[in-house]
Symmetry: C2
Subunit: 407 residues, 2 copies
């Protein structure tokens, strides 16, 4: 972890991916992040993948470096505690990240009564408050109909919950931005980040919506072809698939050079009266003329011959590899300094990453594991809410809070 | 736009998606964002989709609300100007977002000589500085081999540049976090955000890597089935595909109720001796037993009958709709207050979004269009670098800078 945000206290009442990644990013930049959950775990506490012992590898991946408080969120006393935590005191407190319903006991209106300058960042499904998750928002945006092989018309869902992830990072940005405004005397506020709006805005930011509005139809499904430039998967003589792309003139010339097909491409250019180097769009328009040249060049060589030549020639390419192979890839996982071998709450040890960015001049501190559920209940109640040990004991007796292992 | 970041001056030397979205998010929260490009445009200036007139809808989507400066970045004089802009003066200046090479004329070392407390956020491909773009990083991470129909083994690329988008939002978060540290006396720093590290860390955060390390194999391709719970696409009597999912017990019971299949599911539970409500993973393990019940229930009803029942019953579902249809969807685009109909540099008017989040208590200001290339060259040179009109004229004469339309 880094310490850019040291001193900040963020409380997270969350589940699934978006809000927990927001908290994760904040924690790995040095904020104290306190996640509260129902006693026994929230709706994501048993989310797959699981370890052989039944612990969620997902949960322990998404909650690294946080503190955990377990509260009975169905009880009035537990709800009051959660509200007080959300509105935690201190100059750099009063920062709450959540995906709880907009109009429930953790509504902004309810929390603001406890702290006037509260900052609340709320992940939502649909902007109107109705149920929506990454997959259902994604299906509504048209992308699964644009994804997958051209010879198949079935919708293809993404496997990576891209909207959740984008929302989580955007919420971390929004929270620190709101804190900066508060530091400048602008008070607190609620920031609502519905997946539906993040999705709609992104489709517009990338030009998808303007294209469809102006042309009257959405981009057709085109397999692995990169839209508007040159790029797709190609197969080597020994049957390996590589992703090759050329958007800039330099990427284009380097690819042709490494494959030895510059002359053949020149012939096509002469015949069509175009310059592919000068206009990436022409490479796309005439891609069916270009593909055979690339396919033939790939079919002449094994991957072991081609890929070093690509690297030496500065070609933009990537192997299609399995995650098993990726784990052996020194650049991704095996020798990646982001990763440290640590022991997780499941009891298992395996490599896990700290902050996703690198600050060359700062020391990359230890990667901290996720907490056990309820591990910090007593500590947080004492330090944040200033409860006495007697009060904390009474909360345990009343089963309003629990420590590790539900005790 | 909102004004949380009002007063910040961010300079962006960038292209494509990641760094420009970082600047976009900052601009839409109130920062002054100055993007510099080569005279005539950077490598993304003609990126598809294009308007009928040849303007990039992509470029004008990703650069909304920014100022534009056009500089000859191949000339020594132009490079010096770019460096001085990157290290812009002022308490809330010295904030630079870029995807220029780590060791080029915009290296941190070069810029730091101009401003000791510079904050530089640098998007990279691979962490070692080699060429990598969203599609080639994605292929290396294993996801395209996990995506798509089970009866097909071809890799399937994502259509949404998810790694670029996540990186852009994370960079916005990192920049504001670094500024907060600088405000607290911790000086400036470079933050490097390689797509390869963002990808590797995310695969770990979500549990993908631990699962593969511990089980020895990666998650198999499973079409549109949601991993570890219940969810997939289902087809109504009239042939419409809907995404239905149930991760929580509540989502599960509501889906069964709305479809009228609770009793049939009970029978399967009795036969197998399991409770699907209590354990989402069992719904996944036994999904081939459950799917026929859902398929039959869907086949009995048209979408027009089913979807209002789903909404009334609080079911988590989404239509697979085209982007054309999505544009008519009031919740996504048609009546979405994020969007305003504005005139863009292409000369075209169409709806475009402001900030992706909503702050109910603040006024959502006007959505600002992208600049024309070079539109703010003179203004920025005068106001940020304090050049005289004579100096600016000489830069134009020497073709080191250009205004709109390259003049």
């Amino acid at each position: 972890m880094y310490d850019l945000l040291k001193g900040l206290r963020v409380v997270e009442g969350s589940a699934f991916v978006a809000a927990p990644t927001c908290g994760l990013y904040l924690a790995q930049m040095g904020a104290e992040v306190i996640r509260f959950d129902n006693i026994g775990g929230g709706p994501d506490f048993r989310r797959w993948p699981l370890s052989a012992g039944g612990d969620s590898l997902y949960w322990e991946g998404l909650n690294k470096g946080k503190k955990s408080v377990a509260i009975d969120l169905a009880s009035p006393g537990g709800r009051e505690l959660a509200q007080r935590l959300a509105a935690s005191p201190g100059e750099d407190g009063g920062l709450f990240v959540t995906n709880f319903p907009v109009d429930g006991f953790l509504s902004y209106e309810a929390l603001r009564k406890l702290r006037e300058d509260l900052i609340c960042v709320r992940v939502m499904g649909w902007a109107d408050g109705s149920q929506g998750m990454d997959y259902t928002i994604n299906s509504a945006l048209g992308l699964p109909l644009m994804t997958g092989p051209v010879d198949d018309d079935r919708p293809v869902n993404h496997v990576l919950a891209a909207w959740d992830l984008l929302t989580g990072a955007y919420c971390a940005f929004a929270l620190v931005s709101a804190l900066m405004a508060r530091m400048k005397g602008k008070g607190g506020r609620e920031i609502r980040a519905p997946l539906s709006d993040i999705g709609a805005a992104t489709m517009a930011n990338l030009g998808f919506t303007a294209e469809t509005l102006l042309s009257g139809h959405q981009r057709p499904r085109m397999g692995n072809d990169i839209y508007g430039a040159f790029g797709r998967d190609l197969t080597t003589r020994d049957g390996q698939k590589l992703m090759l792309l050329a958007i800039t003139p330099k990427q284009w010339s380097k690819a042709l050079e490494a494959l030895g097909i510059a002359a053949a491409v020149n012939e096509v250019e002469a015949e069509l009266g175009v310059s592919f180097a000068a206009d990436e769009g022409l490479r796309f328009t005439h891609r069916q003329r270009l593909y055979p040249l690339f396919e033939r060049a790939f079919a002449l060589r094994d991957a072991a011959e081609l890929t070093p030549a690509f690297d030496a020639g500065g070609v933009t390419w990537g192997a299609y590899q399995t995650l098993e192979a990726a784990l052996e890839d020194p650049r991704l996982f095996k020798d990646n300094p982001l990763f440290q071998d640590i022991r997780h709450p499941s009891g298992l040890s395996y490599p896990a990453p700290g902050a996703m960015a690198t600050i060359p001049q700062d020391i990359r501190g230890a990667v901290r594991p996720a907490p056990r559920l309820g591990q910090h209940t007593d500590e947080v109640l004492a330090e944040v809410l200033h409860l006495s040990s007697g009060e904390i004991a009474r909360l345990h007796d009343a089963k309003i809070v629990a420590g590790p292992e539900g005790r």
